[in-house]
């Protein structure tokens, strides 16, 4: 079964990751030297601490300075199952019925301050990720509910002891935010890494200018001999898309790693021709509409279902794909995963019916039955064009077709989070963006706030939690898949807790001389840039 899933995933990866330009051809020998300048579509990272943050602004600015325990194969980042060692010496086989994972740590790794990196550093870093001490935040602690202990019995061994065996563990371990920090620094000041950078990655931190750039230089002591190929890296912060496109057009920057919309790609391709290459992939990010269950009339499941039924996802997806970086209709699981719902399964769920007229007639009936025909409400949205504002404009028009009057309030990221965390919204456009494709953990976004702190629907649902707990403990693929369908039906249909709208499409145009970097379904993955080189 595992093999079948592997083959399945490899096939999918091959299909998903297209546009081979920019890929290192077998005959191409990497050239050393040069500085890669890339743009980061943000003002700057909220902090440098990968354990605490969830944004690409942090990972794009800091990943080149750090090492991780394991990672997705940088030469096959489209894969959802191809994990390789970074700091470990070889991928282990679990023992104790899948509950004990023992990793041997490389002994040739040095911190950028010259001191040796040991298993104690790795174990302490993971202890902070899995169960952060009082006063510390780990954005991914909930991904590791299965972990009982992380130990370092000696300087070259790290052992993870699990409470129960689960397929979700290994992908979780490859999280690109799980930087390995120095034990001494963490123990002296756990907040040190929020404002400072000191790792063991391919590049050494050189400088950071607030709102301007982050710079790094080659780490000559890097443990992968010959890498990195570049002399240095410069990440330029540029939140405005027009600025980023202009920078690429004028060759002041070579690429950006998050993703540009189709219109920007077309414009660059038209102007730069063969000086530009484009890689595309399905993206492990999707927008969802979160409904505040504590606000009337959204406490009524009929109203929530009506909101979902009004949206024509099947016709919306191909049209919006022309103007925004959204692409695929899907359920709660990344559409590229073997655990994702097939089209015929999806079409049975509320909001995915193939006949939109029937769907909207049902929406109107439900609204009438709930006594809220023609109601007005406010949709809070994030002040980011791609694709938030496009999705917001689209769903407002869809809702108007069942008589709903919706006023959109677009706010910057800070107030957007405030509205969600404070529960001061009716309905909000948000996104579920994950790193390594790990459906069992990625669907955690739909769990009640008590279990998953980044859920803002303001509801409690023990039945949902029970299905989830059964799901993450199930190791048989077919049974696991059936449980995910049950979870999906419960969340999107029976309770209509949220509306999963379109999954995104990742489009990375890059200057053709940039080689070695390959696209993945996540904009968090494969960002240490050790294997990138410039063919100039």
């Amino acid at each position: 079964m595992t093999m079948m899933r592997g083959v399945c995933a490899a096939g999918l990866a091959a299909i998903l990751t297209t546009g081979a330009a920019g890929v290192v051809a077998a005959a191409d020998a990497p050239k050393r030297g040069g500085t890669l300048t890339y743009v980061i579509p943000a003002d700057g990272p909220p902090s440098f601490d990968g354990h605490r943050e969830t944004t690409f602004a942090t990972v794009h600015a800091t990943a080149p300075f750090y090492s991780v325990l394991i990672r997705i194969n940088p030469n096959d980042p489209g894969s959802t199952t191809d994990f390789v060692c970074d700091l470990c010496t070889q991928m282990p086989k679990p023992t104790d019925d899948g509950k004990t994972w023992t990793f041997k740590i490389r002994q040739d790794v040095k911190w950028h301050d010259g001191s040796p990196l040991t298993a104690y550093d790795v174990a302490t870093s993971w202890q902070y990720v899995v169960r952060p001490p009082e006063g510390m935040t780990s954005a991914r602690a909930s991904y590791f509910v299965m972990v009982d202990k992380v130990e370092a019995p000696d300087a070259s061994t790290v052992v993870f002891r699990l409470k129960f065996a689960t397929d979700a563990f290994l992908p979780g371990l490859a999280d690109p935010f799980a930087y390995v920090y120095k034990k001494d620094i963490l123990e002296k000041d756990p907040h040190w890494y929020e404002k400072n950078i000191m790792g063991s990655g391919p590049f050494k931190f050189a400088s950071y200018d607030v709102g301007q750039s982050v710079k790094g230089v080659r780490n000559d002591d890097y443990y992968r001999k010959g890498q990195p190929y570049l002399d240095g890296i410069v990440g330029l912060f540029a939140p405005k898309q027009a600025v980023r496109v202009d920078a690429m057009r004028a060759d002041r920057a070579s690429l950006e790693f998050r993703g540009l919309p189709p219109s920007a790609r077309d414009q660059l391709v038209k102007e730069l021709g063969d000086k530009l290459t484009v890689q595309t992939s399905d993206w492990n990010c999707g927008n969802l509409i979160t409904i505040n269950h504590k606000k009337k009339p959204f406490d009524d499941v009929r109203v929530r279902r009506a909101l979902a039924l009004a949206i024509d996802q099947w016709n919306g997806a191909p049209a919006l794909a022309k103007i925004a970086n959204v692409h695929t209709v899907g359920g709660v699981v990344f559409p590229g995963s073997p655990l994702a719902a097939k089209k015929e399964e999806l079409q049975k769920l509320t909001g995915f019916w193939p006949d939109i007229n029937k769907s909207r007639a049902e929406a109107k009936r439900l609204l009438k039955e709930a006594g809220v025909e023609g109601m007005s409400f406010e949709l809070v949205n994030r002040n980011i064009d791609q694709p938030y504002k496009f999705v917001g404009t689209w769903v407002i028009d869809e809702w108007s077709k069942v008589g709903l009057k919706v006023n959109q309030r677009v706010v910057p990221t800070g107030p957007w989070y405030e509205a969600m965390r404070g529960g001061t919204f009716d309905v909000v456009v948000e996104a579920n963006c994950q790193g390594v494709v790990n459906p069992l953990m990625d669907v955690g976004k739909y769990l009640p706030h008590a279990v998953y702190t980044e859920n803002y629907g303001q509801y409690e649902d023990q039945k949902e939690i029970d299905i989830y707990n059964a799901m993450i403990r199930e190791t048989d693929f077919a049974k696991q898949r059936a449980l995910i369908r049950q979870f999906e039906t419960h969340v999107l249909d029976t309770e209509a807790h949220a509306i999963q709208v379109l999954w995104w499409s990742r489009i990375i145009p890059a200057r053709s001389y940039v080689k070695g970097w390959k696209i993945s379904p996540s904009h968090f993955v494969n960002q240490d840039l050790a294997n990138v080189w410039l063919d100039k």
């Binding site: 219109s263 103007i323 404009t393 689209w394 407002i396 028009d397």
Partner: protein
């Protein structure tokens, strides 16, 4: 007083006297003949007014309805000004956008102008500490350019039509008050105001009956200028993503959606809303200039 002293004023009055007795139509025709550019500006303003007030009847399509079968279509018979990235008819959005511009422009100009009038005349009439304090507050407010001040207000109150109106109105108040005050200061010293005081009239009566009517000429000219400024500021705020929000039709917002991403592939998305803004502000400026020429005796004599 010698006869020669009275000749010139009598002659001036004679020149003006027939105008006051002319019908509105005659006066309008005279305005058109004497102020062709102002007339052109007024015509542009009237077109905008008609579009804004009659949008429901004039617009061929709903301004918010997406049509995915007609995305980024160039101008054609079906869509005279083309469509935007959501397939929405640009002509319909421009017509409805005139309504947004009207609401914002006139609300800001009237509210900002009225508050400025009250504060400006009051400041001049009472003088002393009240005047000194108000002027210092105005100094502070006027130290910020209009758009910067509006940005700050939007940052505090948030986006949306009502908040945009507040954001633009606040910086207009001191601008109006300052001009009105300077006119009112000279009126405060004229004998009939002293006479009114001597007769024991109250402050409100003196201000409303004797001072306000005499500052109406510069005030009206200011109001027309404010309408144009407010429309421009609203467009700027919306362009920056801080004004009116989608899917409401507003010219600045349309420009924002089209200028960055579609300037080269579908230029009509940015060109037509840009033209609408430019023509409206141009029209209001021309009309305001003409109004000044008509209402300001010094200009009229030239």
């Amino acid at each position: 007083m010698s006869p020669s002293d009275t000749t010139l004023p009598i002659s001036a009055i004679d020149d003006d006297a027939p105008e006051t007795r002319r019908s509105i139509l005659e006066r309008s025709l005279l305005f058109c003949r004497r102020q062709p550019l102002g007339t052109f500006g007024l015509a542009l303003c009237i077109v905008m007014l008609i579009a804004g007030l009659g949008a429901e009847w004039l617009a061929p399509y709903s301004p918010t309805a997406n049509d995915f079968s007609a995305m980024t279509e160039p101008p054609s018979w079906a869509h005279l000004l083309g469509t935007d990235q959501f397939g929405r008819d640009l002509l319909s959005r421009i017509i409805y956008g005139a309504r947004t511009a009207l609401i914002v422009g006139f609300s800001c100009a009237i509210v900002g102008g009225f508050v400025g009038l009250v504060l400006g005349v009051g400041s001049a009439y009472f003088g002393g500490r009240i005047d000194a304090w108000l002027q210092r507050v105005f100094d502070v407010l006027m130290a910020f350019p209009l758009i910067i001040m509006a940005l700050a207000v939007v940052a505090i109150f948030g986006t949306g039509v009502q908040n945009v109106i507040v954001a633009i109105t606040v910086p207009l108040v001191p601008r109006c008050a300052r001009v009105v005050r300077s006119s009112a200061l000279s009126i405060r010293e004229v004998p009939y105001v002293d006479a009114a005081r001597a007769c024991g009239f109250g402050h409100v009566r003196i201000i409303m009956r004797h001072m306000v009517p005499n500052v109406m000429a510069p005030f009206l000219i200011l109001i027309t200028a404010f309408v144009g400024q407010a429309i421009l500021a609203e467009a700027s705020l919306s362009y920056l993503g801080l004004g009116v929000q989608e899917p409401v039709a507003a010219w600045g917002l349309m420009l924002q959606g089209g200028a960055e991403e579609y300037a080269s592939t579908a230029p009509w998305i940015a060109v037509f809303p840009g033209l609408a803004i430019a023509l409206t502000v141009f029209g209001i400026s021309l009309y305001g200039d003409a109004l000044r020429d008509v209402l300001d005796p010094k200009m009229r004599d030239r």
